[in-house]
């Protein structure tokens, strides 16, 4: 299945893009996606402790199962206001 990945703020240079498509096996979770991304972008590791992940505009747990077409966003610490 294919999910779309979005990246914001200070994470953009880490992944070198604002968004991309990622091919994952059926049943893959948020955690599987992060492992895949860490293998490809080792610099992402230092962001992990403060990183949150949103699936379809909702914060999601690591064990959330992804589905075809999901919009997944990597959310670094927010700083609005």
């Amino acid at each position: 299945m294919v999910i779309s990945l979005m990246v914001f703020a200070h994470l953009k240079p880490v992944l070198g893009a604002e968004s991309c498509s990622v091919n994952l096996p059926e049943g893959a979770t948020v955690n599987h996606l992060l492992e895949r991304l860490l293998a490809e972008y080792p610099a992402l590791r230092e962001w992990l402790p403060s990183l949150r992940v949103a699936v379809n505009c909702e914060y999601a747990a690591l064990n959330t199962v992804l589905h075809e077409g999901d919009e997944v966003a990597l959310i670094p610490p927010v700083s609005g206001g």
């Binding site: 914001f8 914060y59 927010v78 700083s79 206001g81």
Partner: protein, 125 residues
């Protein structure tokens, strides 16, 4: 966009809101860009957001604040893009029956913004 905008913010729209006759307290917070950012003088701060998620979370958050604090009106606007020193980045206004709920409701929204809403300062110049 209901709560986010790339246009300059002014509290005038909020100031024109009439208070419900059962509300006795109005609290307004304005967040303004300061000259010094991390110890250095700046001219602008730049903000970006994950707009659809921020809008959806804000909508739910404002509903929750209305119920939890009995707020009769809530006004929430956050500006995105380049904001000059002295200009408003965020406005949060609430009406409530009494002062305690008004302050608590306004602060609840502001703290939730700072903690959960996907908006970022992405640069200063």
């Amino acid at each position: 966009m209901r709560f986010l905008t790339y246009e300059p913010l002014s509290p005038e729209e909020w100031h024109r809101e009439v208070m419900d006759e059962h509300s006795g307290a109005s609290v307004e917070f304005l967040g303004v860009v300061r000259r010094m950012e991390n110890g250095a003088p700046i001219e602008y701060l730049e903000y970006e957001a994950y707009v659809p998620m921020a809008e959806a979370l804000l909508d739910r958050l404002i509903q929750q604040a209305r119920e939890q604090f009995g707020l009769s009106k809530v006004y929430f606007r956050h500006r995105l893009g380049a904001i000059r020193v002295g200009e408003i980045a965020v406005i949060i206004g609430v009406h409530a029956p009494h002062r305690a709920e008004a302050f608590a409701g306004c602060q609840f929204l502001l703290e939730a913004l700072k903690r959960d809403i996907p908006i970022w300062k992405v640069g200063a110049r």
